[in-house]
């Protein structure tokens, strides 16, 4: 290489077989075990996220079914009170932290570079790292289960019950350290989405042409960057209280139990939006495909997404209405909690208008998306109900709230995800899911879910508190609980059918072709599954719906899919400007790299050291993690990070 290669004249040309062959050699991950741990391909990582998250969904679901058996009748003793506490704690932790966000991160990881028209995420190695750390944190927390000392104070983990005085075992340490570890993964992933959003779009994809699912994920990623430190800190302080006798939370020595609740909900309320907004984004992009028209009110929906996230930071106190707050504070946070409904309503009306003004094609995905709207509204209005302080003092900590969060988590997360699965599985696998089995399983899931959780609102209105392992006869809860148990098993059966469909279609599904749904966005412009480099030439975008623009008469000129910058001298991608997406730089992208995996191992060992109070192990891990990170970040010529000028 000659000196001073600081600029390059990118080849611009047509797609060709030779170019594709060349790019494939450059971009493909190595085969075998090394390739497995070293791959930085966002598609591979995205699929790993999704598969892992679904595995956790199954585990969390089994925990739920055991609890449902216990609650199917009064005074039952299928599990002990302690086992029940561990079950409901791990169920919450699993579903909220190990399933709900990671599954969305998986879809976003897979889809971001494809819908943005680029070749990878901004930080491919960081992407691999955030997956490995997520996996490590999940395993870390689940080891506790095998030892019989899983977290037992609920996902909300209130002190002082979580303090050593009342909870001397390692249960809470697993949770505290596991959450700090998971926080590292979440933060790394969030940073990656944000930078990818600003830097890695196809030229011409100005800020008003970005698909909504990208907006959803990037908004919550920004939210994550600001919210995750609160919970990491809360857990760190708890761990200090437990290990070193500090006094953050113990009232006896001037600590404040309510500090925990503030820090926890400062994080956990935004988190509720964090685990639904990307799903709403996928619906906003998926539903219009089947309505055969663009989403109504793109700009309003984007603004609504951002507003929801911003307001989401101002309502945490509504989880604490019963803690004896001043009335002024209650009024303020109650008002704020009502207001947050408004931006969510924007999305609902936009979806409905899209259906009414479109020509819906009733596919399985459409069924999930359309029912998503109804589920969204049920989860939404029950949320509004709890915003009314005096009413919330009754709803609070009853099954009414349990029903509410399940409409949010299943209705707004899982239904969106399943719809997205039907839309994008063909892109991921190259094969279609079976529509007949899809529709059958949809109805089972739909009936099972509503049978389990719609009557549960009433269980709550009849005053059944949350987190009780048993209940007496004669308080009017038995029949409702039996219904819920029946519904839960039906829902589980429905999900088993979905899984069957996936497993069967991977091998036997009909070939999908590049664009099975005739969708509008760039991921449909490449093959299914996409090649390692995503696009042989970088598309140049002229509208919000590149593949529909001719039919919609939209945009400035025509999007160019087959001709564009080839970027074939090494692993290259195009960086564009943040707002207008003008070409800015040629980025040299990293290839397979095992260091993210090694650093994860070093980091995880450190957390094991902290858990076992083996300080030498923790110290060793700090050194190993730092060393590994330094190797990872060492400036490299192939990434154009080293001076090429000859110094005199």
């Amino acid at each position: 290489m000659t000196a001073a290669r600081y600029t390059e004249f990118p080849n611009v040309g047509e797609k060709s077989r030779a170019l594709e062959e060349k790019l494939k050699k450059i971009w493909v991950s190595k085969p075998g075990f090394y390739g497995f741990i070293a791959s930085v391909d966002h598609k591979e990582i995205g699929i790993r996220y999704i598969v892992t998250a679904f595995a956790f969904l199954i585990v969390g679901g089994v925990e739920a079914l055991i609890m449902r058996m216990q609650l199917a009748g009064p005074n039952q003793n299928i599990v002990s009170p302690e086992a029940y506490a561990q079950l409901f704690s791990m169920h919450g932790i699993t579903m909220i932290f190990l399933y709900a966000l990671p599954v969305l991160s998986g879809f976003s990881n897979y889809l971001f570079p494809l819908v943005l028209g680029t070749r990878d995420m901004a930080f491919p190695r960081l992407n691999a790292f955030s997956y490995w750390v997520y996996l490590a944190a999940g395993i870390f927390m689940y080891v506790s289960f095998l030892l019989g000392s899983a977290p037992n104070d609920g996902w909300f983990n209130y002190v002082p019950y979580a303090d050593r005085t009342f909870n001397p075992g390692p249960n809470i340490d697993f949770y505290a350290l596991g959450m700090i570890l998971l926080g590292i993964s979440t933060t790394a992933g969030a940073a990656n989405f944000v930078v990818t959003f600003f830097r890695m779009r196809a030229p011409g994809m100005s800020i008003n042409r970005i698909p909504i699912l990208v907006w959803g994920t990037v908004t919550v990623s920004a939210g994550n960057l600001l919210a995750v430190p609160a919970v990491s800190l809360a857990f760190f302080l708890l761990w200090m209280d437990r290990q070193f006798g500090t006094h953050f939370y113990d009232a006896a020595s001037g600590g404040k139990p309510l500090l925990w609740q503030h820090l926890f909900w400062l994080f956990a309320h935004p988190w509720v939006y964090i685990i639904v907004l990307p799903a709403m984004g996928m619906v906003s992009d998926g539903l219009p495909i089947f309505c055969r028209r663009p989403l109504v009110g793109y700009t309003l929906v984007v603004l609504g997404t951002i507003t929801t996230m911003v307001l989401g930071f101002g309502v945490w106190v509504h989880h604490m209405f019963a803690t004896g707050l001043p009335y002024m504070a209650m009024s303020f946070f109650s008002g704020a909690s009502f207001i947050i409904t408004v931006p969510s309503a924007v999305a609902v009306f936009a979806w409905i208008a899209t259906i009414w003004d479109g020509r819906p094609i009733i596919t399985t995905a459409f069924l999930y998306f359309a029912s998503f709207i109804a589920m969204f509204v049920i989860g939404g209005v029950s949320g509004v109900m709890t915003a009314a302080v005096p009413a919330d003092l009754q709803f609070h900590d009853t099954y009414f709230v349990v029903a509410h969060i399940h409409y949010v988590l299943i209705g707004i997360n899982l239904f969106g995800v399943l719809g997205a699965l039907y839309v994008w599985f063909p892109k991921m696998s190259g094969r279609l899911l079976d529509e007949y089995l899809g529709k059958v399983s949809f109805w089972v899931v739909f009936f099972g879910f509503n049978l389990a959780f719609l009557p549960m609102h009433w269980t709550g209105l009849r005053g059944m508190p949350r987190r009780i392992y048993t209940y007496p006869d004669g308080v009017g809860w038995t029949g409702l609980n039996q219904t819920t148990t029946a519904g839960a098993f039906l829902l589980a059966f429905g999900l088993a059918l979905v899984l069957t469909n996936v497993l069967r279609s991977i091998r036997k599904g009909e070939p999908a072709g590049d664009n099975p749904w005739d969708g509008p966005t760039l991921e449909w412009a490449t093959s299914s599954p996409p090649p390692p480099y995503n696009f042989a030439v970088i598309p140049v975008v002229a509208s919000r719906h590149p593949l529909w623009e001719e039919r919609l008469c939209e945009g400035t000129g025509r999007t160019s899919i087959d001709r564009g910058p080839q970027l074939d001298s090494g692993r290259e991608a195009l960086a564009t400007t943040a707002i207008d997406a003008h070409p800015d730089l040629i980025l040299k992208m990293p290839a397979d790299d095992p260091w993210p995996f090694f650093v994860t191992i070093a980091l995880a060992i450190g957390f094991i050291g902290l858990l076992l109070q083996a300080w030498w192990l923790a110290a060793l891990s700090v050194i190993a993690t730092l060393a590994g990170t330094i190797v990872w970040l060492w400036p490299r010529r192939d990434l154009a990070q080293i001076a090429e000028k000859q110094h005199v």
């Binding site: 009024s331 109650s334 409905i352 094609i361 302080v389």
Partner: protein, 346 residues
């Protein structure tokens, strides 16, 4: 789509039927009916919210179903087939704007209703009669009646008696972890938080027996931490208070068994339990000075009958695993003596 219509419509109407039939008497924890001034203004707000929510859900669901059915294309979908895309009518945004306006107006009305209800339950109409200090323990409720002087004060557990139609002040604190005081028919929840004393009030507008339960997860037996509030006519309440102030009956005139039982009780149970007028002065468990005036045992878990009491004394860990009362080895004679003694604590 027909099944979707039926299912959603069906579910919604089932919900409504269920809710409207909730007035059944066998739901002691329901908060759709109130019996006290701190709950009464809230009940209509809850009903208002339920009706609003049901209406919104029905309207939106119908919009989705009707829109999907009415507008759907009848052509079969074929994978990869290029089909029409429409730019869409102009003015569709009206949907969103109208929806926004309707949402905002409705919300504003409910915010106003919420605020006025909040003001209404802030304090009672008349001054409180007296203060009851409730201390949460894993997993029972200590109930201290604060009289005009220490000699007029006493402590009991798990059952709160109040004079009907009179507000009383509640002071709430915790001896260990966070609990939450909740008697749905009379009041929403207020937490009992270590290091902090919360105050609220309670008033029953009729006589009766109201069930309550701890509403914040507080450990393994959170499920079996219930309580009762019994509202009595004023004169009966005064009589009850006077009775509670009395110490346990003395030895004079007591039978051999009772005297034995008292000794055994002091020796085996006195470290944790108090019975005023005896040497038993433990503070760990409930005050048993007038145990027989209470109708239930173990935080409203089992009835205070002969069988219930025997079972509880001999094997509390079987009835409420991991609760703080140990299984104490007692011969059947000892058990009989202790039970007979306890029976004198009226």
């Amino acid at each position: 789509m027909k099944p979707l219509a039926r299912a959603t419509g069906g579910s919604v109407s089932t919900l409504l039927i269920m809710i409207t039939s909730a007035a059944a008497g066998d739901t002691p924890m329901s908060y759709l009916e109130s019996a006290g001034a701190r709950a009464a203004p809230v009940t209509p707000l809850i009903w208002g919210l339920i009706y609003l929510s049901a209406a919104v859900v029905i309207v939106i669901t119908l919009l989705v179903i009707v829109g999907s059915l009415k507008r759907r294309t009848t052509d079969a979908w074929l994978p990869g087939q290029r089909s029409d895309v429409e730019r869409g009518g102009s003015g569709v945004l009206r949907w969103v704007y109208s929806g926004l306006i309707a949402t905002t107006i409705t919300l504003a009305a409910f915010v106003a209703w919420t605020m006025s209800t909040l003001a209404a339950i802030r304090s009672p109409d008349q001054a409180e009669q007296f203060t009851v200090h409730v201390v949460g323990h894993q997993w029972w409720w200590e109930v201290r009646y604060i009289g005009s002087s220490p000699s007029q004060s006493f402590t009991t557990a798990n059952e709160i008696r109040i004079p009907s139609g009179r507000p009383i002040r509640l002071r709430l604190s915790s001896a260990d972890v966070i609990h939450s005081f909740w008697v749905p028919a009379l009041s929403g929840k207020t937490d009992l938080i270590p290091g902090r004393t919360n105050e609220t009030w309670l008033e029953a507008n009729r006589t009766g027996d109201f069930r309550g339960q701890c509403a914040e997860f507080c450990g393994q037996q959170h499920a079996l931490m219930a309580l009762r509030v019994v509202s009595l006519p004023g004169d009966e309440f005064a009589k009850w208070w006077a009775q509670q102030l009395k110490p346990a009956p003395g030895d004079t005139g007591a039978s051999e068994t009772v005297r034995n039982g008292r000794e055994l009780f002091v020796a085996k149970c006195g470290i944790c339990h108090t019975v005023r007028g005896t040497l038993a002065g433990g503070k760990i468990g409930p005050d048993l000075s007038h145990l027989m005036s209470r109708e239930t045992l173990a935080a409203n878990t089992i009835p205070n009958t002969r069988a219930g009491l025997s079972a509880w004394i001999s094997a509390p860990q079987q009835i409420k695993p991991k609760n703080k009362m140990p299984n104490v080895e007692l011969s059947s004679e000892e058990l009989h003596a202790i039970r007979t003694f306890l029976y004198t604590l009226q």
